[in-house]
Symmetry: C2
Subunit: 221 residues, 2 copies
């Protein structure tokens, strides 16, 4: 009982801080994406591939969430992105409070888009609002085509689902239509993009999606 009370209190406090973050992002007119997936689904590779395509055209900030190490931040810095690494020290998701603590160190006013790479986990980050505009989920083809129904929360919460590692489809037993169908059942109208961040297939549609979202955000601010 006390556990439930504490969890409710933590969620309420998170929502309060997330609203403050959302206000700060809106004032800066910057698009913010919260990227969630299992470990190894290709979140950082997607960011690298994205930076290669839009790094010269727009200002990108990255907030990297990890249990340990700065490995992901080193990778996106090598592609020219600025940003901040958050280590949760064992915690299985980012929280709005962790984001609020680092916002002072980021030049939001000059940025067009902030990518928040959450901790690699398909469960815990699902329900923690960080103040983002879009919560999105990555699922890679190597994880098996039974995942949406087995981990429903994030597929219900996300407004964009990316099916990554399509370059490996020919070597796998993975029914991509079945996955798309399960996502549609869980979350009718959820947008689904199919791509290979490593090989580049489908990246143009993703970049177009980002450009359109940024234009929409700037129009509103």
């Amino acid at each position: 009982m006390i556990k439930v009370d504490v969890e409710k209190r933590i969620q309420d406090e998170n929502d309060r801080i997330a609203a403050q973050n959302r206000k700060a992002f809106a004032e800066a007119g910057v698009l913010v994406l919260n990227i969630i997936s299992s470990p190894g689904s290709g979140k950082t590779t997607l960011l690298e591939s994205t930076l290669d395509r839009i790094g010269g055209e727009m200002n990108v900030l990255v907030i990297e969430g990890d249990v340990s190490t700065e490995r992901d931040m080193d990778r996106v810095r090598a592609r020219g992105a600025e940003g901040i690494q958050i280590n949760t020290g064992g915690g299985c998701h980012l929280s709005a409070g962790m984001i609020a603590e680092v916002l002072g160190g980021l030049d939001l006013e000059s940025a067009d888009v902030v990518f928040i790479e959450n901790v690699g986990n398909l469960i815990c980050p699902s329900t923690y609002d960080l103040g983002e505009d879009v919560r999105m989920v990555l699922l890679s083809t190597t994880e098996g085509d039974d995942k949406p129904m087995k981990y429903p929360a994030i597929f219900v919460e996300a407004s964009l689902a990316i099916l990554n590692k399509t370059d490996l489809l020919e070597h796998l037993q993975f029914d991509i239509e079945k996955v798309a169908g399960e996502i549609e059942v869980l979350n009718p109208g959820c947008q689904i993009l199919r791509l290979s961040a490593l090989r580049g297939d489908g990246m143009d549609a993703w970049i177009d999606w980002i450009r359109a979202k940024i234009a929409e955000k700037k129009g509103n601010s």
Copy 2:
């Protein structure tokens, strides 16, 4: 502060029940393995492939942990295993209490080995003792070779690490020696097996490992 107190109390209570589970497993003389990995690393496929090899030779029980669905239990039942599905309803790991609740429904006395497939999560299950003999981690080659240092807790806690999906190595940028080296740094002496549960490579060494552990357990009971 109250959050820390509650977490400590939950862990203490878990340890108390885990000790009871361990006593029940010891009295039955049954080997118990707690299998932990990210979603889609191949835990259920490993169980299917294992059941195909030892199902006729020994009595196997399976406890399946999932956020939602009975899909994994259906798969191992189709290979002849008996067992029980636990749905955590959003919870990111099994606990000793969840295991204790289902033990009454399992014929431990007749069993040689119990496989507990934990919830697909590389973080939360790491520190929850279920009363098992061996905590083991699966990492698949498709998850990238940077994972042990990024998710250190489970690689520190496990006494067996399985590197799965070696059949896909030729299509990936995955340095298996680097991964083995990182595990050795985190957990010197941790046993490491390399296999493809799907294609069968390396399965003999895993089956031999299970047979030896069962013999060891029966010798002690």
